[in-house]
């Protein structure tokens, strides 16, 4: 049987079933979906979600896939925006057994897989951690030699400890020096915190990341202002722009 080309052809809207729902933080929830005829995906890709109300009103949003390709089910982690229209529904109303219309997987630029190699630099602002988590989880599932060939550094900027998505899992996956996880809090840190307490700046990047000679593959994800600040700092520090990939998240929820 011919394997369908994952990058060619139109994508169909499919009705997925919510098989699991997991609260990650007070504002973020993971939805695990069973998607009929899911072709598989690559870490970093996203899906489009379409909601149609009974009166015909339609809303559409994009959400990054949080799960690695190895997992059964497609996991999306959604953060609720208070004045959002779709995120309060996904985080507050949707439940196991419900249907959800999705289209995907989408993306060919902001993707990483083991074959691309490393070192792998992941820089996340807020909910920008989601697609980077898919990459980190993929890395964790790779075989020992592949993992050894790709050191990983994740720098994750969150407002407060309560906003850190996947906190326990990040602690488990951290395995210095092979897998380094560095957090910085921009609004409020734990009382006993000895780590960073500020927005990501040049000095922090210089301390955390590899020099340009290591030629890391860098992935930066989060709100637009965050992404552009970090990306330009990386280029300023000497990293080739072509090795810094960006994905900007919008504020519409």
């Amino acid at each position: 049987m011919a394997i369908p080309d994952a990058t060619a052809g139109r994508l169909e809207w499919r009705v997925a079933t919510v098989v699991d729902v997991r609260d990650e933080t007070p504002r973020a929830r993971t939805l695990v979906l069973d998607v009929p005829q899911w072709p598989g995906h690559r870490p970093g890709q996203h899906v489009d979600v379409r909601l149609v109300a009974e009166d015909g009103y339609q809303a559409q949003r994009s959400y990054s896939i949080a799960s690695p390709p190895e997992d059964r089910g497609v996991a999306l982690t959604v953060e609720r925006l208070d004045d959002g229209e779709v995120s309060p529904y996904l985080v507050g109303e949707l439940r196991r057994g419900d249907g959800l219309e999705i289209r995907g997987p989408i993306g060919g630029y902001f993707v990483w897989d083991v074959a691309l190699g490393g070192p792998l630099l992941l820089v996340a602002g807020g909910s920008g951690i989601v697609p980077l988590m898919a990459m980190l989880r993929r890395h964790a599932r790779a075989d020992a030699s592949a993992r050894a060939a790709v050191p990983v550094r994740l720098l994750y900027s969150a407002r407060t400890p309560a906003d850190v998505i996947y906190a326990a899992e990040l602690e488990r996956l951290a395995d210095p020096p092979a897998v380094e996880v560095v957090l910085t809090f921009t609004r409020e840190a734990p009382v006993t915190w000895t780590g960073y307490r500020r927005r990501i700046d040049r000095a922090m990047l210089e301390a955390v990341i590899w020099p340009p000679s290591a030629e890391p593959h860098a992935y930066v994800c989060g709100p637009t202002v965050f992404v552009e600040s970090v990306a330009s700092l990386l280029v300023e520090l000497g990293h080739a722009a072509s090795r810094v990939r960006t994905e900007r998240f919008g504020a519409t929820g």
Binding site: G9, L11, T246, A251
Partner: protein
């Protein structure tokens, strides 16, 4: 205070582009018709939603790709695009 609505990037247009070109497009390389800069479609700056999609060159802001879908047609303006290279 509401944050100013900022642009996104070509990744956000990925679903629509896939529909239009029947191919994953964010990794395709676009040569800007304004300044000649070459970069992935995913790295173009996205404006115009929800009226349509306007993808602009991050170097010179030229509108490289413009897409509007109406109930009766889909229109694509490529006048700001010099070359598109789609990886095999």
């Amino acid at each position: 205070m509401r944050a100013e609505k900022i642009h996104l990037d070509g990744n956000a247009a990925g679903g629509v582009l896939r529909d239009v070109f029947a191919h994953e497009m964010t990794a395709a390389l676009a040569t800007c018709g304004g300044c000649g800069a070459v970069g992935p479609v995913g790295a173009l700056l996205e404006y115009g939603q929800p009226m349509g999609i306007v993808l602009r060159c991050p170097t010179c802001d030229t509108a490289v790709l413009r897409i509007v879908r109406t109930p009766s047609l889909l229109r694509l303006d490529l006048s700001g695009l010099r070359l598109l290279t789609i990886p095999a």
